[in-house]
């Protein structure tokens, strides 16, 4: 018992180290440019201002970027929920020629980095006339090997008896999938949905390549370009921009965090 206090001390110090940059961002977003540059820096904003947030609306088009991020993330999440559960079910529960080959293909591509495919993908999407468009941002991410793997693992854990019962009752194979098995995977769908949404919200390289005009930027692209462009020294604007990027995922994560950690348990992957 005597050891406990210093273990908690270390744990709390770790907590402070993790939280401090977020607190710095949040407090900084309410400071004026003058106060942000002061040495030594202030902790709490002396004269809290919402000017930085007002600038996100007037100087930069952040509502549009927010909308773009949301549209892309919602579409990508919907696609993954539908298509990954379909193929995950057939890989786990149906017998067919080519099943093993398909599964090996999924596993082999789990780790293919985006940097390997983005140049030919850019050529393909541009020639399809989809550069700088929502379909161009969304289509390449509608399915993911990770999602297939997660759904396949979950379906594999469901008993076959339910399917056999459905077959005896004369339900079609697709009906067994859609009406009997799919409703049982709600926990896995929740996990996949949240992880996909967060991944899409934070995705950077592909939107950077394919969103060519300002009105198609997603939040991370806009924030990165502002932080390296002419606004690089506008610290308050950048802090407020970071808040807008980070806070939605923090809220989603804190509300649904059990689903996220369960996903790691199901697949062993993050």
């Amino acid at each position: 018992m005597r050891r406990t206090w210093w273990i908690y001390l270390i744990a709390v110090l770790g907590l402070i180290a993790v939280a401090a940059p977020f607190a710095w961002m949040f407090l900084g977003s309410f400071k004026t440019q003058g106060e942000l540059l002061r040495v030594p820096p202030t902790w709490l904003p002396e004269a809290p201002t919402n000017q930085n947030y007002a600038d996100l609306l007037s100087k930069a088009n952040f509502p549009q970027y927010f909308l773009n991020s949301a549209i892309v993330a919602i579409a990508v999440t919907a696609g993954n929920l539908i298509f990954c559960s379909m193929v995950g079910y057939s890989l786990a529960k149906l017998r067919f020629r080519g099943r093993n080959a398909l599964f090996v293909l999924v596993l082999a591509t789990l780790m293919i980095p985006g940097v390997v495919t983005f140049v030919p993908l850019f050529v393909l999407v541009t020639n399809a006339g989809l550069a700088n468009s929502y379909p161009g941002l969304i289509l390449p991410f509608l399915v993911s090997p990770f999602g297939v793997f997660l759904m396949r693992q979950f379906f594999a854990g469901l008993p076959d008896d339910l399917m056999d019962a459905g077959r005896v009752d004369g339900t079609s194979e697709l009906g067994i999938f859609a009406r009997i098995m799919l409703p049982l995977t709600k926990p896995a769908l929740a996990t996949l949905g949240i992880l996909t949404f967060l991944g899409s919200w934070n995705n950077f390289l592909w939107p950077l390549v394919i969103a060519q005009t300002e009105e198609m930027y997603t939040l991370p692209v806009a924030l990165a370009l502002y932080s390296t462009g002419q606004n690089a020294q506008n610290y308050g604007l950048l802090m407020a921009g970071a808040v807008v990027v980070v806070v939605p995922v923090l809220v989603i994560f804190l509300v649904f965090q059990r689903h996220v950690t369960r996903g790691i348990a199901i697949t062993g992957l993050k």
Binding site: I82, F83, R167
Partner: protein, 316 residues
């Protein structure tokens, strides 16, 4: 993926379908049709947007494709291995390769040690509020690297930054971290560790919780100290978990990109430019053939490093 996650309980892989032998082949046919119908959207999207580009990238890396060929991608000239020769003899690419190796070789062990320390701390020491700490340590993992990099630019700012302010309390005059050739890369590594240790921690926690308490009790009876119990009993049992986390962390770190792009633009004097970032720059300059050769070099290195990690850490 660890082998454990792929195993299914025996009996679940048995052929599904009604037991009557006469209807079995019809059932299998129906299953095959349904299976391919269900797999069709995935297969189509996958071929178009993953498999195609992986092969396209390889093909492109042997051509002189430039931006002006964007609309006529098949009307380019083969140049053999010229792009690879050019990449490997490019001073900046070598620098980027060195930086990437630096980032991985220092960053991966640092991240895993931090993750393991946090996992042991939470698993063995922190009983109250354990899930609070777990969630908090995991938070940076789910936030955008771009946003994190923007925030850390201010944390690391020379005079008005958080870090140097804290250091000044103990009498240390911190450098201008991101503008220093010496300190820029270590700064990025510490930031990456800060952001990513939570991911490996969650996996280590699961690994630790899978080790029965009897293992430690046996060590205790034999009079092993807590360090000895950790080093000789717990650590060997965590081997598969360490393998898994080192592979996933290593693959991620080999591709580091947003951090230098946002925080240093690769500088000062290319001291933080990474292979991914340089590849992106070459793409931006319109050198598509050269960019794909660089991305393929990275791809091969990722595959080789992963293979080596499996060999080094697999169960003996």
């Amino acid at each position: 993926m660890s082998s454990a996650t792929l195993q299914e309980p025996a009996g679940r892989t048995r052929p599904a379908g009604p037991p009557a032998p006469r209807s079995r082949s019809r059932s299998v046919n129906r299953q095959t049709a349904a299976a391919w119908l269900l797999a069709l959207p995935f297969v189509a999207l996958f071929l178009a947007f993953t498999a195609g580009p992986v092969l396209g990238s390889l093909a492109m890396s042997f051509t002189d494709m430039k931006q002006r060929d964007l609309r006529t991608p098949f009307a380019v000239n083969g140049v053999g291995i010229d792009n690879y020769v050019k990449a490997l003899s490019d001073e900046t690419f070598r620098k980027a390769a060195f930086n990437t190796a630096y980032f991985v070789i220092v960053g991966v062990p640092l991240t895993l040690v931090a993750a393991l320390a946090a996992a042991v701390l939470l698993d063995r020491g922190v009983k109250k509020f354990q899930s609070l700490f777990k969630v908090a340590y995991y938070l940076p993992v789910i936030t955008s690297i771009v946003a994190i990099a923007v925030i850390w630019r201010f944390v690391l700012a020379p005079d008005s930054g958080l870090l140097n302010t804290v250091l000044s309390w103990v009498g240390i005059d911190g450098p201008n971290w991101l503008a220093s050739k010496t300190w820029a890369m270590p700064s990025l590594i510490v930031m990456a560790t800060w952001r990513n240790f939570g991911a490996a921690m969650i996996i280590f926690l699961a690994g630790l919780q899978g080790i029965p308490h009897t293992v430690e009790e046996a060590g205790q009876i034999d009079g092993a100290s807590s360090w000895q119990r950790f080093r000789y009993l717990i650590l060997p049992l965590l081997r598969p978990t360490i393998l898994f986390t080192s592979v996933t962390t290593g693959i991620g770190y080999l591709q580091f990109f947003e951090e230098p792009l946002v925080m240093t633009q690769g500088g000062p004097l290319n001291s933080t430019i990474s292979v991914s970032m340089y590849t992106y720059q070459q793409f931006g300059f319109g050198n598509y053939g050269l960019a794909t050769s660089m991305s393929y070099i990275l791809f091969v290195v990722i595959a080789v490093v992963t293979f080596i990690q499996f060999r080094l850490l697999r169960e003996k």
